[in-house]
């Protein structure tokens, strides 16, 4: 049955992806919910919630707000909060209830922008899609709104797009990604803030480090001609150490596609017999090899392992629950959007 999950926890939803992507840009982020979605986003999907003071709030939606469509009350709340936060922009994040009652986000944006006099990003996440879809929309809209000035290109400057703790399972991923590049790197959303976004046209090139960064990279290419590529330049040392003796093996990697593809390159270079990637999340055709799989239900995962005849599976250890009959090796590759586990807490 579609949507049926018995052993895997649901993965981080799109509204969490939106918040994760925009967490460090200083905006006033209002999740359009009754408090439950915000509680989930901040309590489970945002590891920086305890240590960083980002302005993420619930709109405190109640049944009558939804039934009567009291958008003006929501705008009043945004205006009042903005008087305190004085953020350079505001964000309205969609959740299941606005999706069901067909909230007019465009109208909300116009009303809120008129009264706050700052840009308002409205991102129509629904809570039924995965985090990467929400993060992708958020990065794209952020750059579409703020990266407007065409500046002279700075030599050796690189924009890193699509970095979130949900993808990289580390709150220090921004630093690790920047350190892995021998250039001046701007890791948007994990180190580089709104000013860097405004100067994005000056980047010599951009790298989309996860599927969430692709839409923004394409937008910057179209708008400023900035060349870009897909790559995941940082993989944790511990993971590489654990994967050091896979020569001659058939390996299946389950993760977000860019991280899996980057690891595949390393394993093949080290003598692995064959490596396939499988993911529950968004994919780019150019990184997809013939054996690769996009997974929908949890049964698909067991089928992928069986059909590929993998000797070793690499993925978040939560996936082991779906593979009770698998007799091969399993190497843990935490994926925060799947299990909520960080490398630094292992």
């Amino acid at each position: 049955m579609k949507g049926f999950l018995k052993r895997l926890s649901p993965f981080a939803p799109d509204n969490s992806g939106v918040v994760s992507a925009l967490f460090e840009f200083g905006g006033l982020i209002a999740v359009c919910d009754a408090g439950g979605c915000t509680g989930n986003v901040c309590g489970f999907d945002e590891p920086r919630w305890f240590t960083m003071r980002s302005a993420v709030f619930s709109t405190g939606m109640r049944d009558m707000d939804a039934i009567l469509g009291r958008d003006h009350l929501l705008v009043d709340k945004i205006v009042s909060a903005q008087e305190t936060v004085k953020a350079p922009f505001a964000v309205l994040v969609g959740t299941p209830v606005p999706a069901v009652i067909a909230t007019d986000f465009k109208a909300l944006r116009r009303m809120a922008e008129k009264r706050t006099q700052v840009p308002v990003l409205t991102i129509e996440s629904t809570g039924v899609n995965y985090y990467d879809k929400g993060a992708s929309k958020a990065f794209e809209m952020l750059f579409d709104t703020f990266a407007v000035e065409n500046l002279p290109v700075e030599k050796d400057s690189v924009g890193i797009l699509g970095a979130t703790p949900l993808d990289f399972s580390s709150c220090q991923a921004g630093k690790f990604l920047a350190d892995s590049i021998d250039k001046k790197a701007y890791v948007y959303g994990m180190g580089a803030g709104l000013e860097a976004v405004k100067h994005a046209s000056a980047n010599e090139r951009n790298i989309a480090v996860s599927p969430s960064g692709v839409a923004a990279a394409r937008l910057l290419e179209k708008r400023f001609g900035t060349p870009w590529k897909m790559a995941s330049p940082w993989l944790p040392e511990e993971l590489l150490k654990n994967c050091s003796s896979l020569a001659g093996k058939k390996v299946l990697i389950i993760h977000q596609q860019f991280a899996a593809a980057a690891l595949r390159e390393k394993l093949l270079a080290a003598g692995a017999d064959d490596v396939a990637c499988a993911t529950f999340f968004m994919t780019e055709k150019s990184l997809t090899a013939p054996h690769d799989r996009t997974l929908k239900e949890e049964e698909d995962l067991a089928k992928a392992v069986e059909e590929f005849k993998a000797d070793v599976v690499i993925g978040d250890r939560m996936f082991k629950k779906v593979l009770p009959d698998f007799q091969g090796g399993f190497i843990d590759f935490p994926h925060f959007a799947v299990s909520g586990r960080l490398w630094e807490n292992l």
Binding site: G3, L5, P10, N15, G43, S58, S80, P96
Partner: protein, 434 residues
């Protein structure tokens, strides 16, 4: 924080602060509906919701190492529009139950706001599932936080539905009572339970039931005691349905109110009013001893520590403690008397919200001088490692409960805690895999 705060003398009752966008402080000790549902022995919980809603509830179960008691079906976007809401519930639950290694005696089926807004016929789903699985009791449950201000709150509703499987018996047991609504097993060293035992009265609590069968025995008790107002609708429903009498004996900290509770219970049990003067003295002595150690150190208390935050503040202030601040966004009707008393006698007592947007930035500064916090949110906002990890009263009651809180105050003042570690633990008292 100061410019947000109002002295109680100028605070409005029951809501001292206007509504707005809401901040969710990262204090995770309070229970949610998953924790509460897990109290029902042998029950299996099935959630049919959007992924965004599922993520939190399932990870709650995962954190408490209870994934074997939880299943779920994710709603997809097309389900909003293709008229398949009822089918998703019926077929999803059916498939899950067929795949379980052992059929549970009771299943809690949860839906969320979206199905309610979409007008799903949930009662028909429950009827159909009951037809398909006659040996299983299905309970309709709701994860609908949008309903916090209309009718029963999700918390009240969950506590009511938790007792839906209890069945009418031919003869209620006049020597048995239930305690409803406490998330935590009551401290049986409390004078109340010793007195009940002495009078050969059984007190049943869901927190102490080890099997579904023993839980069903709660249907035989003639009286339901509730300690928190959130449990009152459960007791009222049982009074209507099973004829069990309801007695609300709220958690409180004043000698007078504790005495009134016991007098009411004695009357309901047709027993003489117990003499708890010794326990009363012990409680005051414990408070005095704590005060002799803590002295005039500022004390701050938040609403998650106890259902009766103003009652606790009043008792501490009357003992001499320097209670400076209460963190609360709204008060309950039962707080009214204490509110008026504090307004008149301790007008400088500060009231500070927890949900207000400004509270996101309120804990940035480290407290320079020692502060004693009671409750996780108070600890978070004041950044003090000296805090009482008290969540929703923790099963303490009566004079014994007052003495227990006094002991915790003294302990917290003497022994600092790791704030982040303690308040990150989801669901106080539950197992945690973290």
């Amino acid at each position: 924080m100061e410019n947000l705060t109002v002295p109680i003398s100028k605070a409005a009752f029951p809501q001292p602060f206007p509504g707005g966008l809401e901040f969710n402080a990262p204090a995770r000790g309070m229970w949610n509906i998953v924790h509460t549902g897990m109290l029902l022995p042998e029950a299996h919980q099935i959630f049919i919701c959007a992924r965004g809603c599922l993520r939190g509830v399932i990870l709650t179960a995962a954190e408490m190492n209870a994934m074997d008691r939880m299943s779920w079906v994710g709603i997809e976007e097309r389900d909003f529009y293709d008229n398949s809401m009822e089918e998703n519930v019926i077929e999803g639950v059916t498939e899950i139950l067929h795949k379980l290694p052992k059929k549970p005696p009771v299943v809690l089926v949860f839906i969320s706001c979206v199905q309610l807004f979409a007008g799903m016929d949930f009662p028909e789903c429950i009827r159909e599932l009951s037809r398909r699985f006659p040996g299983i009791f299905f309970v309709d449950c709701y994860m609908n936080p949008t309903m916090r201000k209309s009718g029963l709150t999700p918390d009240q509703l969950m506590r009511r539905q938790l007792f839906l499987p209890l069945q009418e018996t031919a003869q209620l047991e006049m020597n048995a009572v239930n305690l409803l609504g406490s998330d935590f097993a009551a401290d049986r060293n409390c004078e109340l339970f010793l007195w009940l035992e002495k009078n050969r009265i059984i007190c049943r609590e869901i927190t102490r039931c080890t099997s579904y069968e023993s839980y069903l025995d709660m249907g035989k008790s003639f009286l339901n005691m509730t300690w928190i107002p959130q449990a009152a609708p459960a007791a009222e429903a049982l009074e209507n349905r099973l004829g069990q009498k309801h007695l609300h004996l709220p958690i409180c900290y004043s000698e007078r109110e504790i005495g009134e509770n016991y007098a009411a219970l004695a009357q309901a049990l047709d027993l003489p009013v117990p003499d708890f003067s010794e326990e009363r003295s012990k409680a005051q002595k414990a408070l005095d001893e704590a005060f002799s150690v803590i002295g005039t150190t500022p004390v701050v208390i938040d609403y998650t520590a106890t259902p009766r935050v103003l009652s606790l503040a009043r008792r501490l202030l009357e003992t001499g403690f320097n209670v400076e601040r209460i963190f609360a966004d709204v008060f309950i009707p039962g707080d009214k008397e204490d509110f008026e008393f504090l307004k008149k006698n301790f007008p400088e007592l500060q009231i500070t919200p927890t949900l207000h947007v400004k509270m996101r930035f309120a804990n940035e500064k480290k407290t320079s001088s020692k502060v004693l916090a009671v409750g996780q949110k108070a600890a978070f906002f004041t950044n003090t490692p000296n805090f009482v990890d008290l969540v929703w009263g923790r099963g303490f009651y009566g004079h014994h409960g007052v003495a227990a809180v006094a002991g915790l105050l003294r302990e917290a003042w003497q022994t600092p805690k790791d704030i982040k570690k303690v308040i990150s633990h989801k669901g106080w008292g539950c197992e945690s895999c973290l």
